[in-house]
């Protein structure tokens, strides 16, 4: 398995509180991604990073922010958690071959419940 860990693996939090999820990789891959997975929606990209301090928005970025201060760590922050952000969150990494071709490797996921 690719060296990707996510923490925490499970979290329950209250509406309005900030939450930070961490993704850590040992592969030294350039690209990192945060997805959420919900029934009926598959995997949707929240934010991604193409290098240290280089990030951009995905298709469902509202209410989320990210930071990448080191190659190995990519943090996802829910600034003020809402019940609609209850989901399973996956981090993925990619070596990023030329032309954007190349598979992404996924972490084990974080199950977040906002009450």
């Amino acid at each position: 398995d690719a060296g990707i860990t996510q923490s925490p693996r499970h979290k329950v939090t209250e509406t309005g509180t900030p939450v930070t999820l961490r993704c850590h990789q040992t592969e030294n891959h350039r690209y990192m991604y945060w997805y959420r997975q919900d029934p009926g929606h598959g995997l949707r990209l929240i934010h991604y990073s193409y290098g240290v301090k280089d990030t951009d928005k995905g298709e469902v970025s509202d209410g989320y922010s990210v930071s990448r201060s080191k190659t190995e760590d990519f943090l996802l922050t829910l600034e003020s958690a809402t019940s609609s952000q209850t989901s399973v969150y996956f981090c993925a990494i990619s070596a990023g071959l030329a032309g954007g071709i190349g598979e992404q490797y996924f972490g084990p996921g974080t199950r977040l419940t906002v009450t």
Partner: protein
């Protein structure tokens, strides 16, 4: 906008039979496609990929077929085993993603293997 869809949410097959999972995509300019397998409680796992300059690619017990004329992708699993039971996602390289490797995922097909 872009969308990737699978024809059937659930597919049930007998152990030992061949399975065919289908996927339709909307972006005729997509040049890269991937299939992932997701077992319960785990992150998606890369199975096989194909570039648009190919019609067919084979792996171990799996074959991906690409029909660009009708924008259709299929995953064939030979001699399906109980361990193949999972949710299968197709994904395409996102429009305008450049070198970022961004993927658009379909909603998934659940493969159930009957003993």
């Amino acid at each position: 906008g872009e969308s990737v869809g699978l024809h059937l949410p659930t597919l049930s097959v007998q152990e030992g039979d061949n399975s065919i999972i289908n996927c339709a995509y909307s972006n005729s300019a997509s040049d890269y496609f991937i299939w992932y397998k997701q077992e319960s409680g785990k992150g998606p796992q890369f199975i096989i990929d194909i570039r648009s300059n190919m019609d067919k690619r084979q792996g171990q017990r799996v074959t991906v077929l690409l029909n660009k004329t009708v924008k259709h992708l299929s995953l064939q699993i030979a001699a399906t085993q109980p361990g193949d039971s999972a949710v299968y996602f197709c994904a395409e390289k996102g429009l305008g993603s450049g070198n970022t490797g961004k993927l658009i995922f379909g909603q998934g097909t659940t493969l159930q293997v009957k003993p």
